[in-house]
Amino acid sequence: MTGTGMLLRFMLRRERFALPCWLLGVTLLVLIQSTQSQRLYDSAEDLAKLRQSIGGNTAVIAMSGPTRLLNTIGGEVVFEIFAFTCIVLALMNMFLVGRHTRADEESGRAELVRSARVGRRATLAAALALAGLANLAAGLLAFAAVAGTGLPIAGSALFGAAFAAVGMTFAAMTAVAVQVFENTRPAYGAVALALGAAYVLRAAGDVGNGTLSWLSPIGWGQRTFPYVDDRWWPLAIPVAVTAVLGAAAMALLERRDFATGLVRPRPGPATASAMLGSPLGLAWRLQRASLGGWAAGLFLLGAAYGSIGDSIEQYVADNPEVAEFLPGGAADIVNSYLALTAMTLALTAAAYAAVAALRARGEETAGRTEPVLATATSRAGWLASHLTVAAIGSALVLTAAGLGEGLAYGLTVSDAGQIPRLIGVALGYLPALWVVTAVAVLGIGWVPRAAAGLAWTAFGYCAVVALFADSFDIPGWAQRGSPFAHTPRAPLDPVSPAPLLVLGAVAVALAVGGYAGLRRRDVGY
């Protein structure tokens, strides 16, 4: 373990930007939820009403947690935000531990470190210590956020402790995964799978009799019932599991060679399939896994949104006085909910549209465009291959989102017609996504080094305009640059083809402009 302290200091230095961002993010989530909940349900009757309306809504329970939490306002905050922030915290821990262990080993950086006076276990020990510090900070910040907004101290302390304990469990889980797998990708995949399982088990348990929730780290945290029962003993489970996983990781480390895992990567095919023989085949091969991930993620997000659609309707049905204020009555409420969520889904999909187009630039900077362009592949053909995947991939991702929302909403209201309807709504954003892709292409053509910055700025602009236009009072002219501002908000507004065609034309023009830049510049730097 020689050198652990030195390595830990070095890791903290490397984390001085990323880690504070993650911590700030989770703290803000807790802070906003705590303020908002206390404002919305400031009386006992409001809380009782909420209990009533949510008590029978399995979708909301599956998304959030056990209804027992709804007995107090503090518990309501835990109900709303705990599971979700645990996902963020788990991802933070996964990347934190992965980055300083397997990723360094993979890149060869760790070899230099290990050749110095550093023990075999030092890197892993330092990474776990780093995660410990990060989770301690996360717990304290969460405590400060809830206690600071006026919730009881005792419950807040438990909230923070449970939060940190769940985070540490995932850090230890990652520590094991990076011993097992030779590369970060499958290791992250395994931890993400465990995280998904933790969420699903918890959901199934909370909807059912609660047994399954005890198999989930998130469930362990929630079942301390902060502000309701304030019981500490369930935290013994994550502490014990963390200790066991940490010890297991150390033991596995002793059994494996440097830069290898316990699972050897399987050999692949000796010859290329017929698909893999063109730039498009290559681009598809490179991007298909990412596309699958995005499509699955957006399907789930869509399903989550869709499953609540009905309870919004129910809420309006229970409170007819609300509907009176709205021009279209109850029907409009659901439609405006669906329109809002469809746009949120499309915005998320726009991130995919940017990622997929920027992959072309990623290939270039990694030096892998050179061998392709040295074959009889034109620049246009190479660019078009990634562009095609981005354009069609955007359609698939939107379809997945619409399918998820349509399926879940259709199931709750027993109407299969919602599936094609909401797929159609989602696909209405396709031209907008293409514009985002095309902006990235424009950057790749003319300002290659700044292409990623340009694409993400465009994305950020779209997101701010779409989500905060009203709350920030952004003037109309300043919104007009966003393709989302020109997309009809179906199903609330009627869809007319004209703006969509214009957006499509803009996308084509931008992409052609980007190609004009690529045609005359140096490739590969």
Partner: protein, 307 residues
């Protein structure tokens, strides 16, 4: 596989800058069809930059570049059907196997010879089923080599193709290039391995700071460098230092050691003969000395070449 007469590559006055840094500064290069042409120069002298311009990846600032009768920038796709390339830094897709990469690159070039591919895999002892990220440096290099050698391209652009190969593989590579030469194909070979250059190349061009400093056959280049002489005479040695082409003279009364420009060797020997030569050894420049002289600064190279 049309073997034309004349130059496969013809570059004159080529310049290329990256921002303020000048990578190529009036480079000339002429590669005859059917020849193996060595392309040498110290690190950062512009070899890779030149090859990238030949591939149409970089755009020349000035100068003329012709390759296989076409313009590498304008006719890139058409020309690439007829050439194969091995990059200096082989970057492969981490999750694609070596065999897949070879097939992919071959197909994108316009087809590859299955039999030759399999034979080369055997020859280079390469496992095509491994994912690229699990290859060692040498094996990554082999993937690019097999992909290029499996083609029947009439021109091969090889940028340090054997860096990282073991001596056994180096021998296999040299055999392959000999065969390619017999088939009348053209090779531009950038290399730092002088034995390889000596074994394979018909002609070499040496560049420094983006400019061609020497070009010719190895014999011609030898002629341009210096021979080391150690001599002992009956009469005292005088007037040697005044002779043209003599460098680094170490003089005692009856013996001397010095280097002489090979072109001036005859004149110097004539001057020595009347003094009564007791013993004389002359050492022709080794390849290393020759290149050190061309790579380094004029002044310091003389000192390095002496031994």
């Amino acid at each position: 596989m049309g073997v034309q007469n004349g130059a496969a590559i013809d570059i004159a006055g080529l310049t290329k800058s990256f921002g303020r840094a000048k990578a190529l500064d009036g480079l000339d290069l002429s590669v005859e069809s059917g020849q193996v042409h060595g392309f040498l120069g110290p690190n950062g002298s512009g070899k890779t930059t030149t090859i990238r311009i030949l591939l149409g990846l970089l755009r020349a600032d000035a100068g003329t570049v012709r390759m296989l009768g076409g313009d590498p920038w304008r006719d890139a796709v058409a020309l690439h059907h007829r050439l194969a390339y091995v990059p200096g830094d082989v970057n492969l897709w981490p999750n694609i196997t070596g065999g897949e990469v070879i097939d992919l690159l071959g197909r994108m070039r316009g087809g590859l010879d299955r039999r030759r591919r399999d034979e080369l895999l055997q020859r280079f002892d390469l496992d095509p089923r491994k994912k690229a990220r699990t290859y060692s440096k040498g094996n990554r290099q082999k993937v690019a080599l097999v992909a290029a050698l499996a083609s029947d391209a009439e021109l091969l652009l090889l940028d340090e193709p054997t860096s990282g190969l073991d001596p056994l593989m180096e021998a296999q590579f040299q055999q392959c290039i000999h065969q390619i030469k017999q088939e009348g194909r053209t090779v531009l070979l950038s290399s730092h391995i002088l034995a390889e250059v000596e074994a394979l190349c018909d002609r070499v061009s040496i560049i420094r700071l983006g400019r061609t400093v020497e070009s010719g056959t190895l014999g011609e280049l030898r002629h341009l460098t210096r021979t080391s002489i150690a001599v002992e005479t009956v009469q005292p040695l005088t007037g040697i230092d005044a002779l043209p082409g003599v460098h680094d003279l170490v003089l005692e009364d009856h013996s001397a050691r010095f280097d002489v420009d090979t072109a001036e060797l005859d004149a110097v020997v004539r001057r020595l003969a009347p003094l009564g030569v007791r013993s004389l050894t002359s050492t022709p420049p080794t390849l290393e000395e020759m290149f050190l002289r061309h790579y380094g600064e004029e002044e310091t190279s003389g000192a390095e070449a002496t031994s």
